[in-house]
Every structure is written in structure tokens, then in C-alpha cells.
Symmetry: C2
Subunit: 218 residues, 2 copies
Amino acid sequence: MRAVIPYKKENAKSRLSNVMTKTQRETFVELMLKDVIGCLKEAGITTIDILTPSPKEVEEGYGVSIVEDEADLNEALNSYLENQNEPILIIMADLPLVRPEHIQDIISSDEDIVIVPGKGGGTNVLYIQRPDIFRVKYYNSSFENHCNIACREGLSLAKYDSFMASTDIDEPHDIVELILHGEGLAREYAENNFGKKKGGKGRVKAHPLQHSQKSLSS
Amino acid sequence: MRAVIPYKKENAKSRLSNVMTKTQRETFVELMLKDVIGCLKEAGITTIDILTPSPKEVEEGYGVSIVEDEADLNEALNSYLENQNEPILIIMADLPLVRPEHIQDIISSDEDIVIVPGKGGGTNVLYIQRPDIFRVKYYNSSFENHCNIACREGLSLAKYDSFMASTDIDEPHDIVELILHGEGLAREYAENNFGKKKGGKGRVKAHPLQHSQKSLSS
């Protein structure tokens, strides 16, 4: 089996632009990518591809292979799947809370497809035993898309239930989850740049610290 | 062991008031409560207390006991714990995605304390083997509070990792999770009153349907 991480650094995570500068967002996605790669390696996955339109954005020394494709996410992933003949784990780069145990659980499943939902109908992780007969459809409620595709192809599907693996960091209110429950490089970065505002009877929120806010307005 | 569900219906879920009328919110919390009670029963829990300042707000026929206490949540729960001599499962009423399997996993743990984090630092479920030596502290990052209390008391603690059990329905963007992943009464109510707005590359959001919006402005 092999894992593939779609990745794009330039102007990444635009939905965080109210709380992070472009430079901060680019640093942050790189740290999240490192956390995800580290997690996969710790889970025993030795073959990892980074699928990216911009290979120069991926630092050397990660011990991964780079697959360049300038097409959009779905087209690039489906071209990638067409060329594979072993089980494929597609994992998003914005999952700094995912742990090696989750990955081990997922790849030891007997189901044809294992899906980890993201918040708001996304797909955080997708494990595909037979890449020759499954095509992906990210965006616009991809969790439902992927369940429907599996059903249409007569493939068995397991939904993997984990708060940690389902927490993608995409909107400002996600950052507090990383600070509270994370432990890697992205968590350290978030903790250095955000404070926690206690929520009374509501939820705790993360807010940019003053030194970060300064750079946000600059 | 026994389970306790803190519950208050009147003007509940004020953080949903942008998308639901007071009457809708009160109906909705009642349906969520029914879902949670049903889940506990299906998990084999036969002794269930509803801890409430307003017993008249709890319909008859649920097959539960009512414990009246007008004190605030922490004071009421700590008084309740003082009077118990068996393991206690505290579960919030706004967890319509929690499944019997989660409850069975949690109550079969060997740890002194099992905690299911809520979004934004909350505590959705708290399993306390020894209610004589543990006091709760909800609100203001209660997940951290409860971890710290367990540590201070020298109690072992497990964090239970489940997207479904960690999804409390407290803010408008939570409703889409209920529609996408739920299956009970509260889900049906949400589906009848909300539509899903596809998010392009972002998350799917739930929005009140026209007939609901009308009543919201009335």
C-alpha cells in the first residue's frame, strides 16, 4: 500500500486569512504537512507521495516522493489512482491531530473503502483497497459523494469515527482544537501565535496574539 | 452504575437563536434529550436520572427519574455526586450523534475517569468510577478542568476519541453534522427545518428553510 497527500502551499488556507497572514498560513500548512508525514511514518507507511502542482514548494529531506500534477484536486487524484495497483490511503495535509493508531486502524480494515469524515461534509482520509475501480469527488459535500460512489460500485464502506482524525484545520474556530488536543509542530506554532479565550458557558475560541495581529495588519 | 443527564428546556440553546425560534429550540432540545435517553437504554443502562431545575419541563413516560435542583450546573452535579456510591456517567443532553456502542465502550473502561471532549474545550461525557472523590467543573474549558482535577486526585484518565460523541449541537454550524451523520428524532427535526448549502471548496453549512425563517422573524 502507499499513501498520497495532496498539497499546495502558496496562499493556502484562505479561510484562515482573518487570523493569519499569508506567510503565516504558508508556514502553518508546511508544519501540518510535516506532522502528517511524521504520523504516517510512525504508523509504518514507507511509501508516501506528495501530489502537488508546485514541486518546488515541497522541502527536500522529507523522505517522500513528489508527484507533479497541475490539474485540479479531483483530476490529479483520479489520474494518480489510475496508475496504482495497490491499496491507496489518501490523506489531507491539514490533519495535525491524526495519530499513528488511527492510520493503523484504517489500513487494517477489511472493507473496500474506509472514510474519515471531515467537518462540514468533507473527507479527511480515504482508504481505497482497489484504486482501479474507485474515483474520487472532493469538494461540495465529498463525504456524501464518496459514500454514494462506493455504493454505486458495490463496494463495502466503513466510516471511521474519530474526533482527532475528523478535525481538519480549516476555519479559525478549529485552531483551539489543535491547541487543546494536539502535540506536534503545528500545535506548537498555533500555541505560539494564538491565545485561548475562555467561553463562559460557550466554547473556548482561539484568537491571534498581539505580535501576530500586528503582522496581520501589516 | 447510573447515568445522569443535566437538562433545562426553557430558552435553551441560545447560541442557536439566529437560526431557530425559542419554541423551535425548546422542541429541538427535547428531541435531543429523547435521542440521548434512547441511546443510553439501548446501551443497557437501566437507571437514568434527569437533573433539572424545572421538573415540569420533563415529559412523563421517559422511564427516567427526575432529580430537582435549582442550583447551577456544577453545584447541582456535585451535590448529586456526593450522594452516589456507584459509578456515574454524566452525559449532556445535546449529543444526538452519540451511539450505544460509544456508551458501552466508555462504561467498560478500567480507567478511573473517561472523558469525551466536546468542541471548543467542553466535556460531553464524563464517566466517574468513584463519585466520592471527583468533583466536576463545567464551563470555561471544562475539558482541561476535568483533566486537571483527575490528575490532582491521582486518578487515571482516558480520553475517548469519537467524532460522533464529541459533536455537541450548540452552534449553527453543528447542525449540518447532525443532518449528515445522525439518525434519530433530532436529526429528523433538523432535516425538516434546515437545508444544506454546499460549500464549494469549503464546508457544507446548514441554513433554515423558508418556512422556518418565517417563524424566526415572527
